[in-house]
């Protein structure tokens, strides 16, 4: 058996995050044992995280559980893009425009979705959300954003 990529990758993620916390924490004041500074606890934890990462890598080489399973790249990309689109455009486009883009993007993440269905779902959800959030709950969100207003 070769290298267990699954556990090696997991271990390396933990090790690198731990290393980053140690690097960033080095500049913080450690204080003393009876007066711990902000730089005392985090580096200790980060060191434990690195050790655990190494244990995961070492134990993983003996494990036969290496399957990662399939990934829907289209779903991954579109689903993660949806909140970013909303965050980037909600002030500029306003709730109606921004939500239309967000919902459409999220709807298209499924392989089983057709263009027509996605448009219908988007329209329905935008109307429902505006009624619920703006008129129902009363969230102070602009319906039309600053980029569109003249």
């Amino acid at each position: 058996m070769g290298i267990n990529l699954k556990d090696t990758a997991a271990g390396l993620i933990f090790c690198s995050i731990g290393a980053w916390f140690i690097y960033e924490g080095a500049a913080l004041d450690r204080g003393t044992a009876d007066r711990m500074g902000p730089g005392f606890f985090p580096p200790v934890l980060a060191a434990i995280l690195i050790v655990l990462g190494l244990i995961i890598i070492i134990l993983g080489q003996r494990s036969s559980d290496r399957a990662v399973g399939q990934v829907s790249w289209r779903g991954l990309f579109l689903t993660l893009a949806a909140p970013v689109i909303f965050g980037a455009t909600v002030q500029g486009l306003g709730l109606i425009g921004s939500l239309s883009l967000t919902t459409f993007c999220a709807a298209m993440a499924s392989r089983r979705m057709t263009l027509l269905n996605a448009l219908v779902i988007t329209a329905g959800l935008v109307v429902f959300s505006v009624l619920l959030f703006v008129y129902g709950i009363g969230l102070p969100l602009p319906l039309v954003g600053s980029w569109i207003r003249i």
């Binding site: 699954k6 556990d7 997991a10 993620i13 933990f14 995050i17 916390f21 960033e24 913080l28 004041d29 003393t32 044992a33 009876d34 007066r35 711990m36 902000p38 606890f41 985090p42 934890l45 980060a46 434990i48 995280l49 655990l52 244990i55 995961i56 134990l59 559980d65 990662v68 399973g69 399939q70 990934v71 829907s72 779903g75 991954l76 689903t79 993660l80 949806a82 909140p83 970013v84 909303f86 965050g87 002030q91 939500l99 967000t102 919902t103 999220a106 709807a107 993440a109 499924s110 392989r111 089983r112 979705m113 269905n117 779902i121 988007t122 959800l125 959300s129 959030f133 709950i137 969230l139």
Partner: protein, 501 residues
């Protein structure tokens, strides 16, 4: 005993029309997502978390609790009717429940599940009401060293009782604590690990982590392999139990309630473990164990009572100690903190209306669930045909608006994508996100109590073993750790979780 007075106080706040409405919404949403396979209570509560900030604290907590135990109810419907557990805690129910349905006894199975759950919910709620005040009185005398040791015990135990590899789960806890420490240090006001972003000065928002790690990842998992659900809209009739059947389920319901109430308080154990344990006990003590797997009514009654009892008692550590033992209670503690409350033993005394209101609302919610589930069963069955690709854009949209509404800060939304990507990568590599959220919520408290302990002891770590209560927690922690390193336990543990899947 002023328990009656306290419960009266609880009823007076929980019966306010708006509270009843949120309790109803919570149980309704819980049933809905419990019925629908593919979306669980944790993801739902994570997604709805931001919206709860528009409510008062009690309404928010009532609704979140309702979603959680409502999902335990709803999950059994799907398990019985289409042999697909809507929730992981209903996986065992599917074994005998589905067989009963095939024999034309779906009505009896559903009635058993609903009535068993209601009985268990009532008893367990009473246990919470009786046990919480004395427990919190004890906890009030805890000093920083006791709290620190208790938190370590809670974290370690939750890791071990949860499924998956132990080193990976421990690493997730530690990562969670580190992420919890990002932001301004509470004692010295020094900025830590913020990469210079002022948006991170208050720390990473729990909503970003919750929505990213639980909501997004659950959607992504479902998108991996999209299959059509068989929506077999069966007609369910005869939702009554005969006297003989009631006699048959009485003892299993009682045993299931006892097992669930006890296991529910264990960190990480909760509903899944208890339904499994209750089923095994019934099979073991039954005079005719060969009926199990072929439609034994006890095989529905016991696990369904157990998982619902556990769902109620799992709130005890959260309400009395401020300690989360599963993802749902971690999110509820996050909500309490964001509402400006300090979770801990003080809640029982200082926030008496809130505390008793939650407990009473749990019972009211259980009553609502019986009314929701039995007469409206046909509606829930039809809901199974709602395609997933309609459901999840709606969830995503609501949570995006909800997250933005909390701080009006686009940063929180970008972080959802960051944690969604990180969480999904870690899940694909076999690391479950639940320990991470526990660590995240407890991280700042852990550091705080450690610092205070060290001030008390003038820098000596011996304080944790010199104080008797703290020593007790440490010994239990070490015992639990030693236990899982035993080879026989390792293999047993793997077996249990394989059967659960």
């Amino acid at each position: 005993m002023d328990i009656i007075g306290n419960l009266g106080l609880g009823f007076s706040v929980a019966l306010e029309p708006s509270r009843l409405l949120y309790c109803f919404i919570g149980t309704l949403v819980g049933t809905l997502i419990g019925v629908l396979p593919g979306i669980g209570p944790t993801a739902t509560i994570a997604m709805l978390l931001p919206l709860t900030f528009t409510l008062d604290p009690l309404s928010a907590l009532i609704m979140m609790a309702g979603i959680y135990y409502g999902a335990q109810y709803g999950g059994s419907t799907t398990a019985i009717l289409i042999n697909l557990p809507g929730e992981s805690s209903s996986a065992v129910t599917a074994i005998d429940g589905y067989q009963m349905a095939r024999q034309g006894k779906a009505g009896a199975a559903l009635a058993t599940a609903a009535l068993g759950s209601f009985f268990a919910g009532t008893v367990a709620t009473l246990i919470v009401a009786l046990a919480a005040p004395p427990l919190s009185a004890v906890a009030l005398r805890f000093g920083p060293p006791e709290y620190f040791s208790l938190m370590i015990l809670g974290l370690i135990a939750s890791v071990i009782l949860a499924s998956g590899s132990v080193p990976k789960a421990l690493a997730m806890v530690v990562l969670g604590i580190l992420l919890g420490l990002v932001g301004m240090d509470r004692q010295t006001a020094v900025s830590r690990f913020t990469l210079g972003y002022y948006e991170l000065a208050d720390g990473i928002e729990i909503i970003s982590i919750a929505v990213g790690m639980f909501g997004m990842t659950e959607i992504l998992k479902n998108l991996e392999n999209e299959t059509t659900r068989q929506a077999m809209a069966k007609r369910v009739s005869n939702l009554m139990l005969s006297l003989a059947e009631i006699k048959q389920i009485a003892a299993p319901v009682l045993r299931g309630t006892a097992i669930g109430s006890a296991l529910g308080v264990l960190p990480g154990g909760g509903a899944v473990l208890s339904s499994f344990a209750a089923y095994m006990v019934e099979k073991k003590i039954s005079k005719s164990p060969e009926r199990f797997g072929h439609g034994a009514i006890e095989g529905v009654a016991a696990p369904e009572s157990a998982n619902n009892a556990a769902a109620q008692t799992s709130f005890i550590p959260m309400l009395t100690l401020g300690l989360p033992i599963n993802a749902v209670s971690a999110l509820m503690i996050g909500a309490m903190i964001m509402q400006g409350m300090i979770p801990g033993p003080n809640i029982v005394v200082e926030q008496a209306p809130l505390f008793w209101g939650i407990i009473v609302s749990m019972w009211i919610g259980n009553l609502m669930l019986v009314l929701l589930n039995l007469p409206m069963i046909g509606l829930w069955v039809r809901l199974l045909s709602v395609p997933y690709y309609v459901l999840f854009p709606a969830i995503l949209t609501f949570s995006a608006v909800g997250v933005y509404s909390v701080n009006a800060n686009p940063f929180d939304l970008y972080f959802i994508a960051v944690f969604g990507a990180l969480g999904y990568a870690l899940i694909k590599l076999g690391c479950e996100p639940v320990p991470l959220i526990l660590g995240f919520v407890l991280g700042p408290m852990l550091e705080d109590q450690l610092r205070r302990s060290m001030i008390l002891s003038r820098g000596s770590v011996m304080i944790f073993i010199e104080r008797p209560i703290s020593l007790g927690f440490i010994i239990v922690t070490l015992a639990v750790l030693a236990l899982i390193l035993l080879p026989s336990v390792v293999s047993k543990r793997e077996q249990v979780f394989v059967e659960e899947d």
